[in-house]
């Protein structure tokens, strides 16, 4: 059987960590205890050395799968010539009330295998390879207390299996035959603290019910009655899995080094939190009615940014610390795409757009009824002062290219956004002290520069970099931030140029055309930006809907999206699932919904022309 593609994977998680489960029943990616911890299973990046936990029929089979409705509980069915198996995979979660009543493990993957009809021969392969396959695994059999493995300085991995597994030179395995009605339970727990809870097998059905209920209760809080609700719900559920519950941070994706281009070197570690995503995430969470999650994220954001103020890093770990330095690990890579990187060097870059993102997110928080303390007010003002000093510098920009700094139009628009939102906050009384005059003056200068040097008469479009004729899809965001209305002639012409130059397939867009931008996949969120742009006045409602509906077909069978899409095959590329793409989907759906009902949530989305107010 061929190695699984990125689309063959589903995600399960417990809002602290996540695993990828293949269509063939193999957990091929899992990092514990945190998203950015070293891997235990990484077969997706190296089938030989990465490690996996596989449960599957021995012979030929056809697999179908789904999530239980409104949950992140995965159900895979294996149809074989002799019978049918159902495999349920989940990371159990429980309410805080439940945790007070019951001792539960820190982390668990629960796998329930049921034979639904006939007789099926199956095989189990349990082969953890800690630290990206670099630490020799030493499994110890502790009888009913499980098959155990110590992870030096991390904790203990324990597998409780109803099917006795035989240890091999590496890992453990077993074969068995299940008949209709028979069931096997596998509980894999991780703990950094002893004594840990080892849950009995007979309690597994209750764990599954409790977890499914937890997710359904969460979905019940979704306040969205617009079109494409199933896709929006799945995106919300995927996004929820990327929120690190203890801090409220949102990681970009749970994986590292799934390639943006097969065989190339564009393999990055996305298991961290990018400030860039802030404004979009907050918009999506508030828009869907998840106020608690949005407020937790803003709280993380404001705490994190306080640590390095007024300079902002591009990315942080889930507790707001600077991440480990980038290095390679000795795995062969997804389909040979080397290197496999851990850590992300982008954290050392200068990306001036993050100031606008952070301040816009804070502004949304205030619009939803939040309040700042004095320290936060001072910090936001210090960001504004930083922007006034540095807005005209070249930077690495939104796409984090590693070819040096240039003056990006998008970064300048976001610097404008930073000052515009600060002035808005001041006007509404949320910033007691701010150098208003300086902010107004600098905002006007940035606006002037973008409108003159950022626009090219020859190609009739805003450009990616001042003084060039290249464009990028981030220019669609000019209207998102209220710099210029989507219906303006310039924005409509820019959109036309983007469609012409960056068009990939269907409604897909490349992010840029320079630096091999068209050799990698089309960038998932750019298509959704286009749909949102159209919905916000750049086109008609039907155009927006057509674009959106076309993009939906590029998700996998479960409705999950990666960072990029191969325009030729339609397959996923890049880290998976990608929070940014799902956030783009949600925001585009919200924009279409708002267009249908003629109302908007963000004030600047409804303003006719910002320059008239300046």
């Amino acid at each position: 059987m061929a190695a699984p593609t990125i689309d063959d994977y589903a995600i399960i998680g417990d809002c602290r960590s996540a695993a990828l489960v293949s269509r063939e029943g193999s957990i091929d990616w899992l990092c514990w205890p945190r998203f950015d911890s070293p891997s235990l299973f990484a077969a997706i990046l190296d089938p030989e050395k990465g490690g996996r936990f596989s449960i599957r029929p021995t012979g030929r089979f056809l697999a179908t799968r789904r999530y239980l409705p409104d949950t992140n509980v995965l159900e895979t069915r294996f149809f074989t010539p002799t019978g049918t198996l159902r495999l349920t995979d989940l990371m159990p979660v429980a309410s805080e009330e439940q945790k007070r009543k019951e001792i539960l493990p820190d982390h668990e993957v629960l796998r329930e295998l049921v034979c639904e009809e006939g007789d099926v021969d199956l095989e189990v392969d349990y082969d953890p390879r800690p630290r990206f396959g670099t630490t020799p695994p030493k499994l110890r059999q502790h009888g009913k207390f499980g098959l155990r493995m110590s992870l030096p300085r991390l904790g203990e991995l324990v597998l409780l299996s109803e099917l006795p597994l035989q240890r091999r030179s590496q890992g453990a395995s077993a074969r068995a035959r299940l008949s209709a009605g028979e069931r096997l339970i596998f509980r894999m727990v991780y703990t950094a603290e002893a004594p840990t809870a080892l849950l009995p097998f007979e309690e597994a059905p209750a764990s599954i019910r409790r977890t499914a209920r937890w997710w359904r209760d969460w979905v019940a809080r979704l306040k969205y009655d617009g079109p494409y609700r199933p896709a929006v719900t799945r995106s919300a559920l995927a996004l929820r899995l990327l929120i690190y519950a203890p801090s409220g941070a949102v990681v970009a994706a749970p994986t590292t080094s799934l390639p943006e281009q097969l065989g190339a070197e564009k393999n990055w570690d996305y298991r961290y939190c990018w400030l860039r995503d802030a404004s979009f995430i907050v918009r999506a969470l508030f828009g869907l009615g998840y106020h608690a999650e949005a407020e937790a994220f803003v709280s993380w954001l404001l705490h994190t940014t306080r640590l390095t103020r007024p300079r902002l890093n591009v990315l942080y770990d889930v507790f707001g610390e600077v991440t480990e330095s980038e290095h390679d690990v000795p795995l062969s890579g997804y389909r040979g795409s080397r290197p496999v990187r851990v850590g992300n060097k982008a954290q050392d870059q200068l990306q001036l757009d993050v100031y606008g993102e952070v301040i816009d997110a804070a502004c949304q928080y205030i619009n939803e009824g939040g309040v700042f303390d004095r320290e936060t007010e001072r910090m936001l003002v210090s960001f504004g002062e930083y922007v006034c000093k540095h807005w005209c510098e070249p930077d690495e920009g939104i796409w984090e290219v590693r070819t040096g700094r240039v003056p990006h139009v998008h970064s300048r628009v976001l610097c404008w956004t930073a000052l515009d939102r600060l002035l808005d906050l001041h006007r509404k009384g949320h910033l007691s002290k701010a150098p208003v005059e300086e902010f107004v003056k600098t905002r006007a200068r940035i606006q002037e520069e973008v409108r003159t040097r950022g626009w090219d008469e020859g190609i009739q479009s805003y450009v990616q970099v001042l003084g060039t004729r290249h464009i990028d899809a981030a220019l669609l965001l000019i209207s998102w931030y209220g710099f210029e209305h989507a219906a303006s002639p310039r924005m409509k012409k820019t959109y036309a140029r983007i469609r012409k130059e960056l068009h990939a397939d269907g409604s897909l867009l490349y992010r840029y055309s320079v630096l091999g931008g068209k050799k990698e996949g089309a960038f998932g969120i750019c298509g959704f930006w286009a749909a949102e742009f159209l919905a916000r006045g750049g086109g008609s409602l039907s155009e927006a809907r057509e674009t959106f509906e076309d993009l939906l077909r590029y998700g996998n069978d479960l409705g999950l999206f990666s960072e990029e899409i191969d325009p030729e095959s339609g397959g996923s590329l890049g880290n998976f699932p990608q929070g940014f793409t799902h956030v783009g989907l949600i925001n585009a759906a919200l924009a279409i919904h708002e267009r249908i009902h003629g109302r908007t949530r963000l004030p600047h989305h409804d303003l006719p022309h910002r320059e008239e107010m300046a």
């Binding site: 001792i103 502790h142 009913k144 207390f145 950094a192 603290e193 002893a194 004594p195 840990t196 009995p200």
Partner: protein, 160 residues
């Protein structure tokens, strides 16, 4: 023996002992969280169990410091090496006897004979606490040796 000093230094030495045990867990030397193990006898709530267990451990340490005090009196006064011997005996007792008794005393802990069940689901420590990491006995021994030496030295210096 001035028992007021035993109260004060016993408390101080217990704080150091608890700190060392927590540090060994934090540094990945042992997974054992003694306050959690003690506190979970009384509540399944993890946070409350740790808090309760911490208080209980302080109290037990305090009580043991009185036993140390009695030992010092019987052997002619406190010194560091007597404290070291007491600490060793204390640690050996906890590791050999205490660890084997915990599953019988702990209502939520499984044992070699029963569980894991719905109610008894915590893993037992095993001989010398080895289930909680092979360095557990070493870290526990060192912490108790420090406890004994500290108590002996502090009581000697203060002229108790």
């Amino acid at each position: 023996m001035n028992w007021l000093y035993v109260i004060v230094w016993g408390f101080g030495a217990t704080v150091v002992l608890t700190t060392l045990m927590s540090a060994s867990q934090g540094m990945g030397i042992s997974r054992m969280n003694l306050p959690y193990m003690l506190g979970s006898m009384f509540t399944p709530d993890r946070d409350k169990a740790k808090l309760l267990g911490f208080g209980l451990h302080l109290f037990i340490g305090w009580a043991f410091s009185f036993l140390y005090g009695v030992g010092f009196v019987l052997l002619g006064g406190p010194t560091w090496w007597k404290g070291l011997i007491f600490g060793f005996v204390h640690a050996a007792f906890v590791l050999v006897v205490g660890m084997s008794l915990v599953p019988s005393l702990h209502p939520r802990m499984a044992s070699e004979q029963r569980g894991p069940t719905i109610t008894q689901r915590l893993e037992p420590p095993g001989f010398l606490g080895l289930h909680y990491g092979y360095q557990t006995p070493i870290s526990l021994l060192i912490a108790h040796l420090v406890f004994g030496v500290l108590l002996g030295v502090l009581l000697q210096i203060s002229g108790a």
